[in-house]
Structures are given as structure tokens and as C-alpha cells.
Symmetry: C2
Subunit: 201 residues, 2 copies
């Protein structure tokens, strides 16, 4: 059921959703089509099946505490906790290059909040860049259905601005000036390799 | 407590251990020092902290079925199942190159059983090689404390031989002839990048 609030928008518990693991996030959005994660999984599957690139989403990190071994059936995890990821969600290889990225979405219309990223993810992307990997983020403005490829080096600039007391988000116009809009397709849905082809080959 | 069997060897439940997820495997070996996974985690941490390479172990894939949200405390996973991994356990970037590998150990003395690998892992490594990534396996002969770096292309040959009705393992002497023994250290414990430096730079 979709609860309509006085402003006419669907209820989407933003801060809660962004701290939940991906599997659970999907439930919040199940009424309004595909999530960014599903679209990227479809895209990566498309690339994989055609031998174009090998990119996978990493499993959600879980701390397992208790496991039962029932007779004649699979082991059941009875107690476990979500752990903070220490890296980004996606990585893989494309034409000899290492790809590493994170995907985030916002319901905002005019800016992208930096709280979507964790400090250790930024640190991870900086280390990847130092090893000459290709690091970036895929940003989705959900209400506008616009998706951007932002090279990590630009994300670092906005992150450092915040650390130095500046704004806690990236404005939409800043994104439009330094990021690359990914033209959405049907198959694959988010052809991000087209941007990598332009920037790195 | 260590149970001694008539042959004087410690009891190590081989087949069970190899089908359990890594976290649980460790319990079986806790009395006899570090596991291969712990040694590799230490090695990757060493490389990471010094800015030498960015390589991580992927989380164990888990299918989450039920989650409780107790008041004022963290979400608890109450029912979940281990999933088969569709890729290898380790990947990352080193001097612009994509690294992708699996690590396995055996108590055998004279051969390495191929049942340690799953068909989809072999498929994954083949796709990585096609994308010009560096794919390999780290094989540990636990009783001998010898560790080898076997390029994936050689693993494919032994795998195909088995598929064509040949032996279900790689003999120790075959490994000695096509793999590279990794000289063990104290810090890092398994300096596998030394082999990559020799083969790829």
C-alpha cells in the first residue's frame, strides 16, 4: 500500500532506507519499478553474458554469530548482524582496467547529499585511484530519472569542501558541469561503459 | 583439545571443512595456528596500509530471509542461508592491473584435489582472463606448509583434463613444474605480489 502524505508525495523513509542493506531497501521501492541496484545488476549481467566486462556487486557483509545444522537440510544462520562495508559495492575488470564504483540515489531534486557516502568508502576510492584503477560513483536523481557518472576525483573535491566546513551536498548544477549523464536504455539499462570508453580509451 | 588419532595426526574433517563457509572453517584449525584465509587477510592488510595494492576478500554471500528490528538496538538477522559464491573470493587492483584469485588448501601430501573448485569459479576466471585481468589460485599444502601461485590458465588445463575423463586432482609434481612457490614471510606472510612482479611487470 502506498501512503500519500499531505504534499502528495509517496512516503519514502530516506535516512532509514540509506542505512539499510540493499536487499531490504528494495522493499521500500517495490511499488515504483526497478531500483538502481536492480538496474545495475541487469546491466552487469548484460555485459557479463556478452563477454563485454566482468563486474559484480559484492555480497552484503554480515557478521555471523550462530548457525544451526539441522539433519538432512541446509545450515541455517540463526543470529547475524549487518556490518559496515569497508569498500564500494561494485568492482570488476573491463579491457584490462580495474573498475570500482558505488551507486547511490536521492529523492532530492536540486542536490545530492554527501551523507550517502561513508568516509571509509572515500578512502577506499582514493587508494584505488592511486593504483591507477578507474573509480567513480553512479548517482541517481530518482524523481527526475536522471543518472550521472561522477569520476571519483571530483567526488573527493566535494567531500574535502565539506570537511573544510563547506556545504554537505553537491548541487545539481555542479553535477551537471563535472559529471556525465548516462543515457538510459532498455538493454542494458544503465550503459555506464559508454562513459568509460569516452574517458579512458 | 587436540584429539590424536592412531596415525598420530590431528583430526581434521576434510570434506566437511571444505564445504563450510570460511568463518566456520577457522574453528577447525584454531588449534594449529593461522589459516590460509587469515594469512591472506594479514598480507592484504599489509599491502593496503603501505599503499602497495588494494585487494580485499569478498564477504560470504548470504541469503537473508528474516530480520528483526528490536527497539534501541541493531537489526538482527534471524534466518539466513549460505549461498554458493558465483565468483572467486579475492579481487582488487595493483599498479593498474586487475587481480582476481581464489585460495584453497589441502591436507593431502602428493596431489591437490580439483573438487576444491566449483565450475562457476572456473568460468569466472576464464572471463577475467578474457578481459586481460590477472587470474590465479593460491594453493596451500597444509601439512607441508608449502604455498604455490598457480596461474589460472594452467588450472584450466587440469580442469579440462578432468572434464575429459582424466584425473580429478593435480599432482604435486605437476604443480611444482608449472606453479610458482611463494616464499613465506613474517610480514607479509604470503607475498604473492612478488610472483606477479615477475610474471607481469
Amino acid at each position: 500500500m502506498v501512503i500519500k502524505y499531505p504534499n502528495g508525495k509517496k512516503y519514502a523513509p530516506q535516512s532509514q532506507a540509506s542505512s539499510l542493506p540493499p536487499k531490504l531497501k528494495q522493499q521500500n521501492y517495490s511499488n515504483r519499478g526497478m531500483t538502481l541496484e536492480e538496474d545495475l545488476n541487469e546491466t552487469n549481467k548484460y555485459y557479463l553474458e556478452r563477454g563485454i566486462a566482468v563486474v559484480h556487486k559484492k555480497p552484503t557483509p554480515v557478521q555471523i554469530v550462530q548457525v544451526d545444522y539441522p539433519k538432512r537440510s541446509a545450515a541455517v544462520i540463526k543470529e547475524a548482524y549487518f556490518k559496515q562495508a569497508s569498500t564500494t559495492d561494485y568492482n570488476g575488470v573491463y579491457r584490462g582496467k580495474y573498475l570500482d564504483f558505488e551507486a547511490k540515489e536521492t529523492r532530492n531534486l536540486t542536490s545530492f547529499p554527501l551523507k550517502n557516502f561513508h568516509p571509509h568508502q572515500i578512502d577506499h576510492m582514493k587508494m584505488v585511484e592511486k593504483q591507477n584503477g578507474i573509480s567513480f560513483v553512479i548517482l541517481r536523481f530518482a524523481a527526475l530519472e536522471e543518472i550521472f557518472y561522477l569520476p571519483a576525483t571530483h567526488l573527493f573535491d566535494f567531500w574535502d569542501r565539506m570537511k573544510n566546513g563547506g556545504r554537505k551536498s553537491i548541487t545539481k548544477s555542479e553535477i551537471e558541469s563535472v559529471a556525465f549523464q548516462i543515457p538510459l536504455g532498455l538493454h542494458p539499462r544503465i550503459p555506464y561503459l559508454s562513459i568509460i570508453n569516452r574517458l579512458h580509451f
